[in-house]
Structures are given as C-alpha cells and as structure tokens.
C-alpha cells in the first residue's frame, strides 16, 4: 500500500512553484520602487514626477504623520477598492514629493478588509491603536464602513470615506458635538434625483413607470432603498422592484416581470458583470425597456464587457470624466503610467481628493489631533481637486463633498469615452 509515491519530484516542484507564484510576485514588474518600513509601503520621492494638483509642502510636525487606508481589495469589490487605493497612493506620493510635512514623508498604512466587516473592525482598531494614524481613508465596502466607523468616532480619528454611496456613514454622528466622518463620493440619493429628473424631462418617462433593479448585495440593496426614497421625494413610487444575484448571467425573468407591471424604464443598481448580463437578457427577450444608471456605469470595465452596441444611448449619472479638467487628465496619465491600466478612474479620483483634503487639513491645523483636523476640514479648503469638490466642501453640518445636484450631469458612452447625454 505504501510503496513510494511516484513523481515525488513533481510534488516538490509543485510546492516550490506555488510558493514562487505567491512570493516572487511580491515585487510586480513595472511597479514603482518601494521600501518597506514597519509594514507600510512608502513611495520613494521622484523629483521628475509632476504632481497632479499643486501641492504646498506642509509644516513640520512633531513625529511621523501616518495615514491609514482600509478597503476591500479582496472579493467582489476588489476593482473599485484597488482603484480607490491607487488614488490614495498617488496623493501620498504627490504630497511627499512636494516635501511632505517639513521634509518628513507621510507614511501610508494600507490594509485589506477582505470584504469582511469584522476584519474591518479589527484593522480599524489596529490603525488607531497600533499604527496611530492621523486619519483613515477608504471604506469602499459599506458593510465594513458601517461596522468600523464607531471605533474611529469614539477614538476621535477623522475618516474620509472615498467609496460607496451610503449616507449613514456621515449621518450617524451628525448630532454629536464633533462628527469625525467625511465623504468624497457620489451620493446615491442625489444621483437618483438627477437621474429621475433627466428621464422625466428629457426622455419623457413618467416617474411612476420607472422600475428599480438592484443586486442582492449591500450595494444593490442600498441603491434600491435610495432610489425608492428619491422617487418618493419626487412624489412617485417605483413601478416594480426586482433583484439579481451577483454572478447571475440571465435576468430575463426579472425583465419580463418588470414589463408585465407596465414599466417603461429601469434604473440599475448593479456592478459591471450583472449590468452586462441584464442588457444581454434585454436583447434576448427583445425588451422595449429603457435603461439608465448611476456612477457605476462610468467604470471602464463595463464598457469593455458590454461593448459599445449594448451601451448605446443609455444615460447614467456622472460627475467626472478623465478629461473634463487638466487635473483629471493629469490623474489619468499618472494612473496609466504607474499602474499600466485604467481600473476605475472615478474611484481613484475620489481616493485622491479625499486623501489630499485630509492632508491639507492636517497641514492647516498644524496638528494630527482629530478635533483640530475636523475643524480645519469644516472651515473651507480652497482646494481645487480632481473631482468636482468645491473650495468649501464641508461645513459643521455638511460632511459630504459631492452632494450638490449641480455637480452631476448625465453622460453616456460613445466610442469609448463618456460624453454628455442629451
């Protein structure tokens, strides 16, 4: 029975191979040179690189300034989370290239919550109590954010949410003396208003004939709730509400039911793969439904997946395109230069601006104390960023930077770029 197993060498080779794949990949080719200190990755200064926005060197600080980043680089939201992270990394790099704080570099500390709320709680504790960061950026996954922000609020550490669209993050502590939560992200509630008004005014769709189709994850459920609330604000109700499970490749059943409810148009709260599946199903059953969507549709992956033909004429809410301003163009160039791909520029832009706003507030407050940073954030920034953040993004009562209807417009894909929808 226990004769020598054949191919012992193969077993050893396989083990080595597996180890090599994982370990050797630790230095991806083409990436920037990095040095590791205390578990954090620090971009080394490169004087030849122009910064994306003009950056003034910050004042000298007692001790190191550390900024934390938490998002879900593993799991279903890995692409938007990674895009977010890249914006964060570029902002830190720019800040440090401009001289950091009195010549000392900002130290980024980056963790992956693996799409697990409890992990986000642990890592937030770690950022605050072990790494002792001055602020935390990220939380692209709302489940993680909602579970973890209590810790930051209790510890008085500012959080800059640069992903997701859940209002509760910045709302939960709005009654507290100091609310440490801030956001630079596209808010679902506001976007939905913009989108519904556009459909009513430009596409002649009755508000009562708009259906909502969201995925069953938190993203879809929150979108569905916000969409419904926005319709209610406009005095209407969804004509039908349907769901699709992440990973499904067919939505004909849902579309059939939406049609038989007498709806004309559908707003989708789904990620790129499911959006593509829904559009394919619509074609399969020859559906007359008109589709429209939110910021998620600006993801380049959606364009690559669904293709021009499926996306033609479908309007979606936008606030940012890679070429609408010199800053946006600069960010896009840097992303392509450093990471060789355009993962999700909008999320990178939010990550960049959120990080910059935080760093500028620290510089303005000349302190890493949470309360002082919050005061600095709430007192206007004079910052012109990559997204449409204005020069006074926050106030005592307003902790969302992108919350004006005027910041949004309806775009659509044409020949691989997003243009304004008419």
């Amino acid at each position: 029975m226990n004769a020598p197993v054949p191919w012992r060498w193969l077993r050893i080779l396989g083990g080595l191979l597996a180890a090599v794949v994982v370990l050797a990949g630790c230095q991806p080719g083409g990436g920037p040179s990095t040095t590791t200190t205390g578990g954090a990755t620090v971009p080394t200064a490169n004087p030849n690189v122009k910064t994306i926005v003009p950056v003034q060197p910050g004042p000298a600080m007692p001790g190191e300034v550390k900024i934390g980043f938490i998002s879900s680089m593993t799991g279903a939201l890995n692409d938007s989370s990674t895009a977010n992270l890249r914006g964060f990394e570029l902002a830190i790099e720019d800040w440090n290239n401009a001289g950091g704080f009195g010549g000392k570099k900002v130290v980024p500390v980056i963790y992956d919550d693996e799409l697990r709320p409890q992990r986000a709680v642990e890592l937030t504790q770690r950022l605050i109590n072990v790494d002792r960061v001055a602020g935390i950026v990220g939380y692209n996954f709302s489940g993680s954010a909602l579970a973890a922000i209590d810790i930051a609020q209790a510890a008085g550490v500012p959080v800059m949410a640069t992903g997701g669209g859940v209002l509760e993050i910045t709302n939960r502590y709005s009654k507290e003396p100091i609310n440490y939560m801030f956001g630079v992200r596209m808010l679902d509630r506001v976007q939905a208003l913009v989108a519904f008004k556009f459909m009513r005014d430009k596409r002649n769709v009755q508000l009562n004939r708009i259906a909502i189709l969201g995925d069953t994850s938190g993203y879809g459920q929150q979108g569905t709730a916000d969409g419904t609330a926005s319709l209610n604000d406009l005095g209407a109700r969804p004509c039908a509400t349907e769901t699709i499970a992440p990973g499904d490749t067919d939505a004909s059943a849902q579309l059939q039911r939406i049609q038989s409810a007498g709806c004309e148009a559908v707003i989708l709260y789904t990620l790129a793969p499911e959006t593509t599946a829904i559009l394919n199903s619509a074609r399969k059953i020859n559906s007359p439904l008109k589709f429209f969507g939110n910021w998620g549709w600006s993801q380049p992956a959606l364009y690559k997946l669904a293709g021009e033909e499926l996306l033609r004429g479908i309007p979606f809410v936008q606030s940012f395109t890679v070429d609408y301003s010199p800053e946006a163009r600069a960010l896009n160039e840097r992303l392509l230069e450093k990471y060789k791909e355009s993962l999700f520029p909008l999320n990178s832009a939010q990550g960049y601006d959120g990080t910059m706003l935080l760093l500028r507030a620290i510089a303005k407050a000349q302190s890493t104390e949470g309360a002082k940073i919050v005061a600095a954030l709430e007192s206007g920034s004079g910052y012109k960023g990559v997204t449409r953040v204005n020069d006074a993004p926050y106030s005592k009562t307003d902790h969302e930077a992108l919350d004006q209807e005027s910041m949004y417009f309806m775009g659509e894909w044409r020949n691989g770029v997003i243009v304004t929808a008419q």
């Binding site: 197993v5 054949p6 191919w7 069953t216 990973g247 004909s252 059943a253 039911r257 394919n280 997946l305």
Partner: protein, 295 residues
C-alpha cells in the same frame, strides 16, 4: 408560456455548464473519495488561459477560440495533476478524514491570489466567437454561445460516459470506484487512476471555463459560485451516477431560472432549503441507491 419556455432554455444553458464541472467532481470522487475544493478556481483559470491564448494569437476568432479551449483544457488538466500530487495524494487518508479538504482549500486561496497577480482583479470581457445575434426559438431567445455550450456539454458528457462504459480504461476506472482494494488486487494501480481522474477533472473544469467565458466573461472570484452549483448538481444527482448528475444539473439550471422568475431575491434561499429537504427525504440523491450496509 413564453416565459416558461425562456426560463427552460436559459436553465438548459446554465445546467449544461454545471453538468460539465460536476462531472469533474464525480470522477475525482469516484476514484479517490476526495474532490478538489479548488475546482472552481481551476475552472476560472481555464477561462483565463483560453482568453490569454486568444489574445496572444490575435488571429481570427474561428481559429483561436478552439485553440483557446484546448489550452484551457490542457492547462486545467496539468494544474489538477499538480494539485493531486502536491495537496491530495500526500495527505488524503480516506473519506472520513478531512486533511485533503484543508489542503485543497489552501490551493484555492493560492490560485485565487495567483490569478489576481498574473491576470487581473477586473471582470474581463471574453470575445464572442459566435457573435451576439440572438437565436430565436419561438418567442424565446438564446445567445449563440449558450446554444454552443449546450451542444458542447452534450458532446463532452456523452464522450466521457462512452469512455467510462466502453473502454478498458473506463472499466478499470469503474473498478477502482467500486472497490479500490479489490481493483488493486486485480493489478490496477489506483494511484495512477487518481492522477488520471484529477487530470480528467481538471480538463473538464478548464473546458467548462473556456466554454462559459463568452457568457459570463471572466472574473477571478467567480469560481466559488460555480463550485457550489456544480457540487449541488453532483450531490443531488447521487454522486456515483454520471447520468444522474446530468439530469440534476439541468434540473438545477431550470429551477434556478424558474425560481428567479417566481420569487426573485428569495431564489437562492428557497433553492437551498429545497435541497436540504430533498436530501432529507432521499439521502443518496436523485438516482443514488442506498447501499445495503454490510454488517
């Protein structure tokens, strides 16, 4: 009625994929009483390999797609052989032990990570070799790739069953599946049978990946869902019965599409609850026969 036809057709396409992956679970389980927890990841790697081949060759899709399938299939087989040698054979101590589960789950983590490093975290578009013109079947329609998947699954599963039932190799395989000790006494080397079964299951997974790619596109994380669905098909079919698995896979696909229509978001919960109840009533699956316990 139109709707019923549509979800039967959509369910067939889904079920066809589950059937191919589930046959991979069947062959390894039959030969070794283990299965590869990383089967889902092998499937996705098959899709990525096919995709890379198509991109690398940059020829007309009619030529590169079959080559891509071939590379996906061979890559899956090679990968599965390595998995069997590294993570299954050295640790598996029989059906009631669970070491192989941990080690193949470990392999799943490794492959997942490797995919995001080697390929991408994004969902990647897979070219559509047969175009995207919907084929109408009366009031219902299917994408050409879905039709192709159904046809390919029929051919592949048919070939597999033919080999199992008609060839010397297939007989040896079934002998090992039936009684490993007895087969060994007859001079069949069950270790080679295990390697072969894993190679075959890897090939089936790689093939399924390259077949499903044009429908689902490719994402490193889509393996777990595929594995769970294929596993359900394999179990409900009564894991020792390849024909039962085909029937179960198709039923599962249709049930999924039908429940989607009937109860929307509650589909998964209802489907799984039904499966628990079903297995409570028929603990050996649809076509599995309860072995009379030899005392």
């Amino acid at each position: 009625m139109d709707i019923v036809l549509q979800f039967i057709l959509s369910g067939l396409a889904l079920g066809a994929i589950y059937a191919v992956v589930a046959q991979g679970i069947y062959v390894t389980f039959a030969a070794t009483r283990t299965f590869n927890f990383a089967q889902g990841e092998v499937t996705v790697i098959g899709a990525f390999l096919a995709l890379s081949t198509i991109g690398f060759l940059a020829g007309p899709i009619g030529v590169t797609f079959p080559l891509g399938i071939l590379v996906g299939l061979l890559g899956g087989a090679l990968l599965a052989i390595i998995i069997e040698r590294v993570a299954v054979a050295p640790v598996s101590g029989g059906p009631e032990r669970h070491e192989w589960l941990v080690s193949t789950a470990g392999v799943a983590f490794i492959l997942l990570n490797a995919m995001t490093v080697i390929w991408t975290r994004e969902t990647v578009r897979f070219p559509k070799p047969f175009g995207e013109q919907v084929i109408q079947f009366g009031p219902a329609g299917l994408l050409p790739q879905e039709v192709f998947v159904i046809v390919a699954a029929v051919v592949v599963v048919g070939l597999l069953l033919l080999v199992l039932e008609r060839t010397q190799l297939g007989r040896a395989f079934r002998a090992v599946a039936f009684n490993r000790e007895a087969a060994e006494l007859m001079g069949i080397d069950s270790r080679w049978m295990a390697v072969g079964a894993y190679a075959l299951s890897g090939a089936l997974a790689g093939l399924a990946g390259s077949l499903v790619g044009p429908i689902t596109n490719v994402n490193a994380y889509m393996g777990l869902n595929l594995l769970i669905k294929a596993f359900i098909a394999a179990i409900v079919g009564g894991i020792g019965n390849p024909w039962g698995i085909v029937v179960a896979a198709i039923l599962l696909g249709i049930a999924e599409a039908g429940l989607s229509y009937a109860i929307g978001a509650w589909r998964e919960a209802a489907l799984l609850a039904l499966i628990i109840i079903f297995l409570g009533v028929r603990p050996n699956g649809l076509f599995g026969r309860a072995a009379v316990e030899k005392v």
